[in-house]
């Protein structure tokens, strides 16, 4: 049962990544792409990590996965804000 | 299908060749340093591909240690090269 949930989560996560990349390719404007990127980052990655946490065999790895997710969240938030602020000015 | 070690070994050789060619032909200094780093990664890829002995058996640790040493040597050489390039530009007042 647990396997089914984790498989579903992983596939959903990958789907979000694919959509994020397609968004990056096709959307015309920088700010739309910014939106597509952050969406795929936060959700896709989160789902993927949740799916992997279910499969991981010991607690330490699971906590590390969680830490990685938090890091990626802050990274993409800080990055998008900085880039938006930087591109807004130039 | 194609054997993993051979595929990555050949990619390593290709990267080394690209890096070597670009080091000779690129006029700009920082690009030359990038090219040397890419050549280094190519040779390390050849070494790690040699070390890869199949999906389940452990790879050859000696080669991993050599590549680790190579990475540290490459970063110190790049740092010196960048410092020389910065000093060179400061000298001509630009």
């Amino acid at each position: 049962m647990l396997d089914w949930i984790s498989t579903f989560l992983i596939l959903a996560g990958v789907a979000f990544f694919v959509s994020g990349t397609i968004g990056l390719l096709r959307l015309p404007d920088l700010y739309c792409r910014l939106h597509a990127l952050t969406k795929s980052d936060n959700l896709g990655h989160g789902l993927l990590i949740l799916g992997l946490m279910l499969r991981s065999d010991d607690l330490l790895t699971a906590l590390k996965l969680l830490l990685i997710w938090i890091l990626v969240l802050t990274a993409s938030a800080a990055a998008s804000q900085l880039i938006a602020q930087y591109s807004g000015r130039s | 299908m194609i054997d993993t070690g051979v595929l990555y070994g050949l990619t390593g050789v290709a990267l080394a060749a690209m890096g070597f060619r670009a080091t000779l032909l690129e006029p700009e200094v920082i690009r030359k340093l990038l090219a040397i780093n890419i050549m280094g990664v190519g040779i390390f890829l050849l070494m790690i591909a040699t070390a890869y002995t199949g999906p389940d058996t452990a790879a050859d640790p000696v080669l991993h240690a050599l590549v680790l040493t190579g990475i540290v040597v490459a970063v110190s050489a790049t740092a010196l090269g960048l410092a020389l390039e910065r000093r060179r530009r400061d000298k001509d007042g630009s």
Binding site: - | L80, G81, L84, R87
Partner: protein
Amino acid sequence: MEVDVLVLSVALPLCGALIAVAWPRRCEVVGMLTAFAVSVAAVLTLVQVLVVGALQHEMGGWTPGLGIALRVDILSAVFLVLVGLVVLASSVYATGYFGQPREKAHFWPMWLLLLAALNALVLSSDLFNVYVTLELLGLTAVSLAALSGQRAAIDAALRYLLVGLLGSMVYLAGVALLYLGYGTLDLPAIATQIESEPIAWLALCLMTGGLLLKTALFPLHFWLPPAHANAPAPVSAVLSALVVKAGFYLVMRLWIDLFPALLTPSTGLLLGIPGAAAVLWGSWQAFKAERLKLLAAYSTVAQLGYLFLGLALLFQLAPGPTRDVLFGGIVLMALTHGFAKAGLFLAAGMVQKRSGNDQISNLGGMAQRMPVTTFTIALAGVALIGLPPSGAFLGKWQLLSSALGLGQWLWVIVVATGSMLAAAYVFRVLERAFAGSSQPDAPVAIAREEWPALLLSAIAAVLLGVGSGWLWPLLGNDI
């Protein structure tokens, strides 16, 4: 208790460098003490090798395949002594050369690291370990070459770094191929397994190509003259006399110990033809050079040509007494060039320091003002040309006799023209020095700088020629 002195030749300079970094106020004293201790260790190693024969020290106590082994035989012991003495003399010179404490604090640690790299390279017999020593040698040489801070020196140092990195990367590719083929990194272990197959051939070409790039053999020499001419005097002395020769030492070590199975007489020509071209082109450029240091740098390119030419002849001789004698001649020429070129560069440094620049055109009156320096340049010139009392004479004699023995006239002509051109550029300098100058002022002499240069040139011109009798029989059983 039997202590392997050869480990000290690497450990001492490294410790000296660390102390010099941590204690910059006293770095000059530390530097001098270390240089002296290292030359004593080198002489002791030579004595030990003469008594006991080839020595080996397994680092960490592991067998050479798994661990790394330092090996010293007569060839490397002789190079160790060359390195030790030249660095000691240049260190004495450097104490007078560098003025402000800030310059000293930067010079001495890198100088000792360079010494450690040279010793480690000569002693190492593990292919990857040689790569690491090559990189250490390259980085320290570049940093020292850029020490003067002028634009020309930094440009030359940057080009030297890029060429050095390219050379050691190509060498590393060769090592990777050898490990792919033979599964170990220890030099003697691979030597037993090597037979003529494509992977061995390619590894030979790559490793030799990388080393020739670092040794500045003729087509690949463009980076050497500006780097050596713009470096501070003690640095350019060691660069020309030792650092460039380390590449030659490795090529000799690889071609004789590692790849004898692959060598046919014709492969020797791969080194011989560029060597001959280097002799002619280098001597010609040295003759045309207007600066003394540039002249010395181009003469290095030429002299290396002689050494590679000797190697080409060496591989065409069947193992036997004639080959051993030629091998002794090549080693003797390498040693003589090391001492002579160091003496010449130190003298050129003194000329530059006294009269602001080392233009050959305004060397007028140097004989009156700086008699010892002029005598040093004359002695070094004797060794560079190869006139009788010097070791180079014996070396070139062997070169000519084996070339005649093989009936290859081309080499004889090349060596002859090279020597004549060398005579031309040395006498051109001396002629300018003895010409009168407009304002004959009092002789200027600083003992601390003049004596080391004089001793180096004297060793090259006289000692190695007269006193090299003991060297030849020992070198013979090496190959």
